[in-house]
Symmetry: C2
Subunit: 334 residues, 2 copies
């Protein structure tokens, strides 16, 4: 059981021949300590291999050094590699700043479930939300002054700090690419329209149409839900209703794969007859046949941005939302 006995301030103070208060000052970067005394403290710390006890520090200061990463896991969202990757980015940045990541994979639900209680009770210094479906909790926590960062654009425009991919730009680029390749009649299979990301990607798609002076024909806009099956199902409907569709932009790779599988089963050549573009540049995009043209987002950077925004807030700085650029990755499918 023995977490090896570690020196305390008492020992450091004695060794450096100063008071514990001074040790605390030095170790917390209070610059009002005489350099010579500070040096002595640092020496003692070095010599004794001292490491601050976070728990004691937390109790006294009220700062726990813990940041919660909350993943609203109504379905097993976390199995989506996306979130894992974002989290690793967050974690890295936080660790570099001496903070730890507390992971909470849980149906967040109401504004006062278990997770809510935990966050409200001051046991973390801040919280980063993923895949948020309701703003109620966020609003509540924000009122309490808990530093918050949201990954993904929130619905309501509280002035919560958030980070997101440029979904609009991505949707625009995907659609524009299809058109540039010669597609005339481009359909979109959106993601769950309850997510802002799906809406923004759709907006990008619409923008291209707007610029082209046309409007997408009835039925070209299909409301999917990010699932493989949804891609299949909408592709079938599309081909039935619009046999002359020659471009499909799916709001994620998985749906793009679903669509492609249907097209191929029907003997429709991709990209010869219909071009397909996905979104995410996930593993399946790379391994697909034909390899999927898609929109890449820098997921790790997203996490890092979230972490950075959190740090900034903890330092009392004002923060602006961060929108990260996307890249069009051209492969065989379009």
């Amino acid at each position: 059981m023995a977490p090896i006995a570690r020196p305390t301030y008492a020992v450091i103070a004695r060794t450096a021949n100063v008071s514990e208060a001074t040790v605390s000052r030095v170790l917390n970067g209070d610059d009002s300590v005489h350099p010579e005394r500070a040096r002595r403290v640092h020496e003692a710390v070095e010599k004794l291999g001292y490491k601050k006890n976070r728990v004691a520090s937390a109790l006294a200061s009220g700062r726990t050094g813990l940041i919660a990463v909350v993943i609203d896991d109504d379905l097993s969202v976390f199995s989506d590699p996306f979130w894992g990757t974002v989290t690793s980015g967050v974690s890295r940045v936080l660790m570099e700043n001496g903070l730890q990541t507390v992971l909470m994979v849980s149906p967040v639900g109401s504004a006062d479930g278990g997770v809510a209680q935990y966050l409200k009770s001051g046991e973390v210094d801040g919280a980063i939300f993923f895949a948020l479906h309701s703003d109620a909790l966020v609003t509540k926590l924000q009122k309490q002054g808990l530093p918050l960062v949201i990954t993904g654009t929130p619905h309501s425009s509280n002035d919560v700090a958030f980070v997101d991919t440029d979904n609009f730009g991505g949707g625009y680029a995907a659609t524009r690419h299809l058109m540039n390749q010669g597609a005339k009649k481009v359909a979109i299979i959106t993601g769950d329209i309850g997510t802002t990301a799906a809406k923004q990607r759709l907006d990008g798609y619409l923008q291209v149409y707007r610029e082209s002076g046309h409007v997408p024909a009835k039925g070209l806009i299909c409301e999917g839900d990010y699932s493989f099956e949804s891609g299949q199902q909408h592709a079938k409907k599309l081909i039935a209703a619009h046999p002359d569709v020659d471009g499909i932009f799916a709001s994620n790779d998985l749906m793009a794969m679903g669509a492609m599988s249907v097209l191929q089963d029907m003997g429709i050549d991709v990209p010869g007859k219909v071009r397909v573009v996905g979104f995410d540049d996930s593993l399946i995009a790379q391994t697909a046949r034909p390899a999927l043209t898609t929109i890449r987002q820098d997921v790790v950077a997203l996490g890092e941005a979230a972490g950075t925004l959190m740090i900034a807030q903890l330092n009392g700085q004002d923060v602006e939302p961060v929108i990260l650029p996307t890249d069009l990755v051209v492969r065989a499918s379009a």
Copy 2:
């Protein structure tokens, strides 16, 4: 900044008209308190909406209520959906037991890097290791008495608690299936042979051969590294060296996909000419064309088992390793 003022033991004690010591006893399940007094305490707690301050509790008791999940992130391992999924399982079980998950995605490396320091300094009550490449740190921590669980079979047979999938059984089932389907000459593309999982899957493969009375021909055993490219590369070599190969068992889906892509490019029919089986039942297995026959492991269960093992250790129970069964998922590729 204001984590709303919460009641303390002092208040509870006053309200219930008992001492703080008694409050502590009641709240920690010490049964030596008179039922009537205990009731009063519970009432007060209820009425005041009291929630224990974990930090203070941790300082006084030495138990932080935090379990570290350490992911050795030499490459961005965490972007593998596998780990995210395991983690969600762990997290769920821990939360149900009032513990929090501290995520550390970091190159673990030596036995005394930052992570090591953190773990050694008693700031967590236990640690769960993922994707472990060296046992040095584990051994060290174990000596210090830190409860440990390893996900995946460790190399050295310290008696550390671990959970793993039945890799041997999975490898066996995959190979056996190929044979049952009529394959005569079955190759294997192993994973990074530095991992025990890869070795065990290989052992399963070998076992089938052993039972069949044959030995795999020279060159049928290819040492891959779990990457798509590695699957491609080995498939090429295989076909060149053994044009009559009619079965390939790849140690993960990604390599299986790589292999399939090469076969298809060469005009070799899958499964007509060569049957292919993967491992993991990841998303790409489902979306592949032909859909990939593979070995499914219950990844969430793996995480839950790890969490459960940790809880057991914290309760001072002796624990045995847990090996979870696999399922053969038959799809189109074999």
